[in-house]
Symmetry: C2
Subunit: 235 residues, 2 copies
């Protein structure tokens, strides 16, 4: 058994476009012996798809199954994933855990980090978040000077959403899915709807931008974002 | 004179570590004929320093002087920079405008974008923001599930800071500099000081992490950040 433990890397791989990996993420992914990534029970494996062209056949792949339903506890799934990763680290093999977007912002890697970072050398590589990438793709400057930006999930109750939006100069609402109609009504009530921009699957090959008034509320994917840019008029 | 105009690229180059450029930013920077970047009247040229190893001698460099004092209007400076960039674009040369962090989050590029994106083909390349990079470097997961994150500048009045912090589950306070003492007092008043983490010059070679209680308020750089991670206890 090896005396020297491997290093755990939490690697942000960005929102979808493989070219939005950082040079550092690319270097680590192409050099580690073990690559772990979340997979959904329904078969969706977005993280691996983003870096598919960079993975070599001599690297060990370690899928981390996660429950599809949010109602089911993900705790035993992360326990098992952490256990599998720990075995490689203990044997002296570095492991890169892929994480869509940025690892520390609603990232699946945080659950692995909390379980293993006290026992193994751990390095987190920040990634391009879909939040800021949305602003780039929409051509919408987010914040000037003294502006406050809030990032929030669409899963919040209408009352909380309304309260948080009222206290921000600009906002990004993520994970829209079946919560779109609720969010749209809140934006109408707050008189924010005319400023709201809508984007699906930011930087992926099937990215869609459309006017919020034309969005079918029954067909909004989880990977949809609404952005409220700053109203500040800079000179 | 060329019939085909050049493309304007707003390129996020991340918080300081050159390895945190994206593959796309690297490709564009190494392939365009003209590279523009902000310079401060006091001689500080951070953006160029980050990509110094990637710039070749056959590329045209276009410094964009900006006023050092925040009291002086930056409008004429941006007008001139946009004019200089427009000349290259009109002559058919692509121009990459470097922007520290992410171009759409308090970015200097937004002022160029507002002046030129209606006249020239424009593409914005998102970059690693110092905000999320701070979470990675501090090993501090930011937001879980239903958490709301707010990003705000330390330049805000204490009352507004207090109000915005009270309405967030996690927060990132940027541009600390001489505003540190005010921010610290707000955090004490809100009982947030024990959760607050402090980092200077994130991912730069002279990055510093220290306990907030040990920070000398008279020696806090502009590039300092306070992070309040989520209190959510995930399983």
């Amino acid at each position: 058994m090896s005396e020297i433990k491997g290093t755990l890397y939490g690697v942000g791989i960005g929102p979808g476009d493989p070219e939005l990996l950082t040079l550092k993420a690319h270097r680590i992914i192409t050099s580690v012996p073990v690559i772990a990534y979340p997979t959904m029970e329904n078969g969706k494996v977005l993280a691996r798809a983003i870096v598919a062209d960079f993975i070599r056949s001599d690297q060990i792949e370690l899928p981390m199954p996660l429950p599809f339903s949010v109602e089911r506890s993900s705790q035993p799934y992360y326990d098992l994933a952490a256990e599998n990763i720990a075995q490689h680290l203990t044997a002296g093999r570095d492991v890169a855990v892929l994480c869509e977007g940025d690892p520390m912002l609603y990232g699946s890697f945080m659950y692995i980090f909390n379980r293993l970072s006290h026992s193994f050398a751990t390095e987190v590589i920040p990634g391009i978040s879909s939040t800021f990438a949305s602003a780039a793709m929409l051509g919408a400057p987010l914040t000037y000077r003294n502006d406050v930006l809030s990032i929030m999930p669409a899963t919040l109750d209408a009352e909380i959403l309304s309260d948080r939006l009222a206290g921000s100069d600009s906002a990004i609402i993520i994970k829209l899915g079946r919560h779109f109609a609720k969010v749209k009504q809140v934006l109408i009530d707050l008189n924010l709807i005319d400023r709201a921009l809508y984007i699906e699957r930011v930087t992926m090959s099937n990215q869609v931008i459309k006017a919020i008034s034309t969005v079918d509320p029954t067909a909004v994917p989880y990977w949809a974002i609404i952005l409220i840019p700053s109203q500040t008029k800079p000179s």
